[in-house]
């Protein structure tokens, strides 16, 4: 069976696009390490909102034809994240009237990306300047990664509702606004396409639209009051590309989301869990595509449940991390080199002009070399080596860091009390796993089986059979590991132990519902 790689979309010619189509062909255009899982979620929401306005949320009319017009909301963003005057004005001004006047003047000068900034509409929306300041401080305090030192135009208010959603942009000092894909690097678009192509797209559309877009929290009106009427980007955003029309991980991702969205908890409480499951499934997607290309056995992640002492499981977990971490890069090389095993390549080499014919194949397959590259080497094999070299260098810059960055971001990996990174899930991630995978309750043993089947997590001795049989670990090493998980879950209120031999993992929200 060959791996599915859809054709590269041609209608959106993007001059600033990638020099060759390798990472993109395997995983899509594109996965990007600097886009943390939270930002993936936010980009997804901006796409969803835009497409919902067009009446086609989570519907793809044609594969890889997504084109949408996101919100920009520059007034809101200037007020919350590019507004250093409030404190000084409050200190200097002697009256409320003076405060507004002083602040409006200063803001008119410093606001970015807005023609002729005029914020005077705010005066009638607040009873006093202090009230206005309190609201700003609230929005700053609840911002996503509010304490990061990112540029102001890459900071985001909490997604209270439709008015609080907007795309990441670059605002230059001269006032020009461009979408440089720095932190919204299309990974959210990929997430959108994955969910749209999943079996559960219809159910998800209903849940997402009703929970996040149509019945926003009252606090969304704070964003509304500050922004005024919604502001859209000037142009549509197109060019997203996801290489497979379907994938088991898309379905699983969607079912994880549905399980979380169907919990009897406020919609906003679901977001951190959605973010974590998104990060996890995207990591597994990256690894699984690499594995498929390399024709390797299913991905497994040996997880250490952190123990006070160094253990065999800790070493195996670090090995497992290391092994998985290398897969994407190996996949890149394999992807390029496998072209030399094709008949077409053989024919090209045997032809009158092997260099030209081989180059044609590379151009067709990878979009490289793109013509104005004149450092052409003579031998076709050298071309391939050169391409592998370049692709690897580029891969290492971003796509190759995804496993490392996101695993840490969602609490899957850690270096706690060790020099090597390993899979050692945090309590928060464990809780998310429980609420995503356990309906009401599940026997602990079955829980271990379920997270192994779904995500490849190896925690207990039953899942670690291959390692135990191979003699790299004792049964006891892994049963101790499982025992530690049992104790951690119990202390988190996620597990009820009936006796030494029997325990249930419980979904805390479903339990609250039943009570």
């Amino acid at each position: 069976m060959t791996m599915e790689i859809l054709a590269r979309p041609t209608e959106f010619e993007d001059r600033a696009g990638p020099a060759f189509w390798i990472d993109e062909a395997i995983w899509g255009h594109r996965l990007h390490d600097e886009q943390a899982p939270w930002l993936i979620f936010l980009e997804f929401m901006t796409v969803l909102l835009a497409e919902h306005h067009e009446g086609r949320a989570l519907q793809e009319t044609r594969l890889n034809s997504l084109s949408y017009r996101p919100q920009l909301q520059l007034h809101l963003r200037n007020l919350v994240f590019n507004n250093p005057h409030v404190m000084t004005v409050k200190a200097e001004a002697r009256s409320d009237e003076a405060a507004w006047t002083m602040w409006l003047e200063r803001m008119a000068e410093s606001a970015g990306g807005i023609d002729r900034p005029d914020f005077s509409y705010l005066r009638e929306r607040f009873e006093s300047f202090d009230d206005f300041a309190a609201v700003l401080s609230f929005l700053q305090g609840s911002a996503i990664e509010g304490t990061s030192n990112k540029r102001w135009s890459s900071k985001f208010v909490f997604p209270f509702g439709p008015h609080a959603l907007y795309e990441d942009v670059n605002v230059k000092p001269n006032g020009s606004v461009s979408n440089d894909r720095r932190f919204f690097a299309r990974t959210g678009e990929l997430l959108y396409l994955m969910l749209a192509r999943s079996q559960h797209a219809d159910a998800l559309r209903g849940a997402l639209v009703s929970k996040f877009l149509e019945s926003p929290a009252p606090y969304d009106s704070m964003a509304h009051a500050l922004q005024g009427d919604p502001q859209l980007a000037r142009q549509e955003r197109a060019g997203a590309y996801l290489p497979c029309s379907s994938h088991p991980i898309f379905d699983r991702l969607a079912s994880d989301w549905l399980a979380i969205l169907n919990l009897p908890i406020p919609a906003h409480d679901a977001i951190p869990h959605l973010v974590a499951m998104t990060g996890l499934n995207l990591i597994l997607y990256q690894l699984d595509r690499a594995r498929e290309l390399l024709d390797r056995p299913p991905i497994s992640l040996i997880c250490e449940i952190v123990s006070p002492r160094k253990s065999v499981v800790r070493d195996l977990s670090a090995d497992s991390y290391q092994h998985n971490n290398m897969l994407p890069q190996q996949a890149i090389e394999r992807f390029v080199r496998r072209v030399t095993e094709t008949d077409a390549w053989g024919d090209a080499l045997a032809s009158d002009d092997p260099t030209m014919n081989a180059t044609d194949i590379l151009k067709r397959e990878f979009g490289w070399p793109d013509g104005d590259d004149d450092e052409l080497v003579a031998e076709p094999q050298d071309f391939v080596d050169e391409l592998v070299e370049r692709a690897t260098v580029r891969h290492k810059q971003h796509v190759g860091k995804i496993h490392m960055t996101w695993a840490r971001a969602i609490g899957l990996s850690s270096r706690r009390s060790s020099r090597r990174v390993r899979y050692a899930p945090t309590d928060r991630l464990l809780k998310t796993l429980v609420i995503a995978c356990v309906g009401e309750r599940l026997e602990f043993k079955d829980f271990l089986v379920r997270i192994h089947e779904r995500y490849g997590f190896v925690i207990g001795d039953a899942q670690a059979r291959p390692f135990i049989d191979a003699g790299t670990a004792d049964q006891e090493d892994f049963s101790d590991n499982a025992h530690r998980l049992e104790e951690r879950l119990a202390s988190l209120g996620l597990l009820k132990r009936l006796s030494d031999s029997c325990a249930y993992v419980e979904n805390p929200f479903q339990r609250a519902q039943a009570a």
Binding site: E127, A134, F138, H268, L492, G493, L498, S501
Partner: protein, 634 residues
């Protein structure tokens, strides 16, 4: 405990070893100590099962140890009555399941000889009915149990049935058997009921006539005291006081037993041990009878130099000669310090007791006493009363030497030695500190649970239906307020219910939802009350006068109480935070749902005609949270 009202169940002693008595020791005592030793945490420990105890009782003439067993008195008349219902007894290994089955069998006229033949499924016909008893479901082969479970599933769903069942199994086996039975609708239905009964104690399917008793939920603190009484006062000890080893007053076995008997029920060691077991159980760690027996045996017989860490009478002479009697201290043995650290860590019993950190935790006052007490006139009286008065485990030569060396400027190695001695002394003080000095020395600072004293006080008051100490409620309210808001608020006469506005996992919550009065006022009240479900207690928040909105209840385990106490005090130990923080946020979420409910009932739902009313929390100079209204027009 009122002995006469309870029937007793038997704990026999398996005579595994005899003979080899010491020269001076009384032979019957020596034999008895050997039996007792087998109940300790030793590798060859197969005398935990009723079956083998029965065999031992038949072989040897030993007076059985008797412990209270109220369940039998409840089951026997129930099976005879018109309202008979099938019953499942479950629990952890060693909780007494098989014993109960046999007792019911004999009490209902079953033949003991027939029982002893050991059929796995016993059927007893009496009056108009049949009782099917299986003392251990896991003994059945799958084909046997499948057939039986199918019958069982039919009968419990049939109101007219004349066949009733009494099954015993531990939790895991019970579920295993139900799972491996064929998936018929009847079995699926009954399995669901069993699962519900196990996990929540109630079932939502009234069509299934089935009850379940989980022996692991019986109060272990009481059982522990009964075991201590039975073991320490068993006639096997007769003659112990006349033994050559104890006449010089330094036989550790004699000494430990004497201390465990104590001086009446108010003796500190019993009170403190009861307190530890009770706190542990309220935190969800059960002590089955097996573990309590092991605890008592280990407490009396522990010494690190004996084989497997447990002495026999024959070991005593050598231990006395080596001058290491103090290492047999019962106060160390309670924490398994007589065992190898790896062994103690793997023994659930000691893992649970060591969770209190007794020996490692301390207060300045206790350590001052232990380190400088010998020389400091201010401590002279207490030093005499608490240390010097106990020459066996207190002011031992080892302690005095280590203390001296330390004070005179010890090498590093000696310092570690002193720290070990100090550890043993703290453990001893925890169990021996008289009640009237407990407060002065902040007894519970010797444990991880510094508020446990207050906690137990509240528990006692609740059980006696007396009013709860005001300090406890203040502590709880202030702790809750700080967690609810994420700010260092001081309010303790009102609950400051705050929201983050975003998601409830957020640490800071700057928006005020409601202030709820702690003293009763306008239907509102925050109080510490008994948990109607079990014997524990919790904090209950009433929002309205009537019953339209039920009070919101949060059960207070010792861990949660400690967490709230530490937060209220300002210092938050990170080891606690993950366990409790989310629980309390979930409690807040429930409160928020109910206040919203109340506003809806009161018709106060915010009319959002283009106007958003926000109430931010301002802290005034005294740290009190106060609302500040902000209106936003859209």
């Amino acid at each position: 405990m009122c002995r006469s009202s309870l029937t007793n169940w038997t704990v026999g002693w398996n005579m595994l070893e005899t003979g080899g008595q010491g020269l001076s020791a009384n032979p019957t005592v020596t034999a008895w100590v050997r039996f007792l030793r087998n109940y300790g945490p030793i590798p060859t420990n197969d005398n935990m099962y009723d079956e083998s105890i029965q065999r031992a009782l038949r072989r040897h003439k030993i007076r059985p140890i008797t412990l209270p067993a109220p369940l039998r008195d409840q089951l026997v008349p129930m099976f005879k009555s018109d309202a008979a219902v099938s019953h499942i007894i479950t629990g952890t290994a060693g909780d007494g399941k098989t014993y109960h089955c046999r007792e019911v069998w004999t009490a209902l006229g079953g033949d003991v000889t027939a029982w002893n033949l050991g059929d796995k499924i016993q059927r007893l016909a009496f009056d108009d009915r049949t009782l099917v008893i299986v003392k251990d479901l896991s003994e059945l082969r799958d084909d046997e149990s499948n057939e039986l479970i199918a019958e069982f599933a039919r009968d419990v769903a049939d109101p007219a049935t004349r066949t009733f069942y009494l099954f015993a199994a531990n939790h895991g086996q019970l579920l295993e058997k139900l799972k491996s039975a064929p998936d018929t609708a009847e079995i699926v239905r009954v399995s669901k009921v069993v699962e519900d009964l196990l996990v929540t104690g109630i079932t939502s399917d009234p069509g299934i006539a089935l009850e379940l008793t989980d022996l692991s939920r019986s109060p272990a603190a009481k059982v522990a005291m009964a075991i201590i009484d039975e073991v320490t006062r068993h006639e096997g000890w007769n003659g112990c006081e006349n033994c050559g080893a104890s006449t010089d007053g330094r036989c550790p076995i004699f000494e430990n037993r004497r201390r465990l008997i104590g001086e009446g029920p108010d003796d500190p060691i019993r009170q403190r041990l009861t307190a530890l077991i009770e706190l542990s159980e309220r935190n969800g760690s059960h002590f089955p009878v097996r573990q309590l027996l092991a605890l008592v045996a280990n407490a009396i017989l522990g010494h690190p130099d004996a084989r497997d860490g447990l002495m026999t009478c024959n070991d005593v002479a050598a231990i006395q000669a080596s001058g290491k009697v103090d290492l047999a201290s019962i106060y160390r043995n309670i924490f398994g310090e007589n065992l190898k650290p790896s062994k103690a860590e793997k023994t659930e019993l000691f893992r649970k007791l060591n969770a209190f950190g007794i020996g490692a935790e301390t207060s300045n006052r206790v350590d001052n006493l232990l380190v400088y007490g010998a020389d400091d006139p201010a401590y002279a009286a207490d030093y005499q009363a608490l240390i010097l008065s106990d020459p066996v485990y207190g002011a031992t030569p080892a302690y005095a030497t280590a203390q001296r060396t330390y004070l005179e400027g010890a090498e590093d190695g000696d310092r570690a030695g002193f720290l070990n001695v100090l550890r043993a002394q703290r453990q001893r003080l925890f169990f021996t500190m008289p009640e009237d000095k407990a407060e002065d020395y902040a007894l519970w600072d010797l444990t991880v649970f510094r508020y446990a004293g207050l906690y137990l006080d509240v528990a006692d008051k609740i059980a006696a239906k007396q009013s709860v100490p005001r300090a406890a409620l203040n502590l709880v309210v202030r702790g809750l307020n700080r967690i609810f808001t994420g700010m260092l608020v001081q309010n303790q006469d009102e609950l400051v219910l705050a929201t983050s506005g975003s998601y409830s996992q957020s640490k800071r919550s700057p928006l005020l939802d409601e202030l709820i009065s702690v003293p009763r006022s306008g239907g509102e009240e925050v109080a510490i009350v008994a948990d109607p479900g079990d014997g524990s207690f919790g904090v209950s928040v009433k929002l309205v006068r009537g019953k339209e909105i039920p009070p919101v209840f949060l059960s207070l385990s010792p861990t949660r109480f400690e967490f709230l106490g530490r937060v209220a005090e300002g210092a938050l130990p990170s080891s606690f935070s993950l366990e409790c923080h989310e629980d309390l946020l979930a409690f807040k979420a429930r409160l928020l749902r109910q206040t919203e409910n109340r506003r809806r009932l009161d018709g106060e739902e915010e009319a959002s005609d283009g106007e958003l009313v926000l109430r931010f929390i301002d802290l005034n100079a005294n740290g009190r949270a106060q609302p500040r209204r902000v209106i936003v027009r859209v």
